[in-house]
Symmetry: C2
Subunit: 278 residues, 2 copies
């Protein structure tokens, strides 16, 4: 055990007491997860979408106070990875220059070769996937395919599901993706059941979310699955975030006119803060 | 005009056509903002909160496609600024070690001395404010006070309002802040009307939001104020984000038992996607 983890575990003991105080029915896996280190890897590339990464990361980072979570940011090469999209062609085939846009850097700590063993693999979306496809760069897909068998949970946000489909790991599964680029993503994969109206879909060890901000709702649901509700809900309320907790909530499938979308769905739905466990 | 802005303005013309097509009543200021460069500065420090920065930044970055927006990340020193909180003392006076937590770096491009003229100044929150106060480091407050007179809009997220209060720029104004650390923040300032139940407050040229994720809702409202609804709403729907559009929506003031909170407020409220302008 690293010395730096000792304070984490001391805090964890405090939170665990809080949780146990109300006899919450933690599963055996949740109890185990609370007392082990989870290795989380984010896959990024130039032209990643900012909130796809940092939205879910807010909750992971907060939970890394009471729990032991280690983060690796994984890309083709280490160093600064830019959100500003590289040159690519738009849906109409015309060259797109986004070089004037605001940029947010994230530092890749590992390459696809040096990445450590992972419990949780998160593939983020972004316009940069267009550039990679134009360049026939399949390094992301190859990394996913190679790690899928040994990773306990695989998550994608937004167009990140396209990488999973091209890697072949969605075969036989239900999945969703961004509604703003639905046709672009769902043309990949052979035997994938794409769910047109879903904030997120959980099937087997794969979690796929709809576009950008949907990654936050998926992450909240995922963390409740991994650690149980009590500590996670308290953390989410500290973020003052009211997550969409119904995975079928998806008015954006209607907004973006996704074929097969549940058009009877009300455009406004109830949401609110999660239950507090005092 | 920079060469790199030409594509932005070409795209802008397209978006403007879209907008003008439905006779949306843009204000004169909104029309001017659509055709000028806005200089935006984020103030950060070690121990900033991840989503305080990158949540609002997602919307700013998206809007930097059709509009011309220049971003400066401003701190005491340039280079990597860490979200992982430095050593500090907790509310009970006990030393807090968070060195085991997940870290997200943001690169400061300017110092308080080298920062360019700003149209928009955004002060983010974070536990790092405790360390700065313990060290009697008032560099953030001094920067805010020096820039306030010449900045058109000043925004804070979460505990960032504490810096504004200590800088003296909230005197005579209504403001809000994180509900999770309400007492900690609102003890600052002499003649500030702190609003206990508010997702965000807009008074004069100052916008203050509640905790963490509230910064995204404030930014959506702010951008609609600056650029008008049509382009902003389309962008927000592409993020698949359903913002809270009522600034008085604040169930977290109830969750966190803020004195004076509107306890009659329903814990669950209606939210949904913004209106689309086809």
């Amino acid at each position: 055990m690293k010395t730096s983890l000792v304070p984490a575990l001391a805090v964890l003991a405090h939170w665990s007491q809080l949780s146990l105080a109300q006899d919450y029915p933690f599963t055996e896996e949740q109890k185990q997860n609370a007392n082990r280190t989870l290795s989380v890897g984010y896959v990024v590339y130039h032209g990643y979408t900012i909130l796809d990464v940092f939205g879910p990361l807010q909750f992971l980072a907060d939970l890394s106070w009471p729990f032991s979570i280690e983060l690796s940011v994984i890309a083709k090469e280490t160093g600064a990875i830019h959100s500003r999209p590289p040159a690519h062609h738009g849906p109409d085939g015309m060259p797109m220059d986004m070089s004037h846009m605001i940029d947010a850097q994230i530092v890749a700590t590992h390459t696809f070769v040096t990445a450590p063993p992972l419990d949780i693999l998160i593939v983020t979306g972004g316009i940069g996937d267009l550039t990679l496809q134009e360049q026939n760069d399949t390094s992301v897909e190859e990394f996913i395919a190679s790690r899928f068998p040994t990773t306990r949970h695989v998550l994608s946000v937004c167009s990140g599901a396209g990488f999973l489909a091209r890697a072949g790991v969605l075969e036989g599964l239900r999945a969703t993706a961004t509604k703003g680029s639905w046709a672009h993503v769902t043309r990949h994969g052979k035997n994938v059941t794409w769910v047109p109206s879903a904030r997120w879909v959980h099937d087997g060890k794969v979690w796929t979310s709809s576009g950008v901000s949907a990654g936050m709702d998926m992450m909240v649901a995922f963390l409740r699955h991994v650690y149980g509700d009590p500590v996670v809900n308290t953390s989410v309320n500290n973020v003052e975030y009211a997550p969409h907790v119904d995975p079928s909530w998806d008015p954006f499938s209607v907004v973006h006119k996704v074929p097969g979308a549940n058009m009877s769905m009300a455009m406004k739905e109830l949401v609110g803060p999660l239950e507090v466990y005092p």
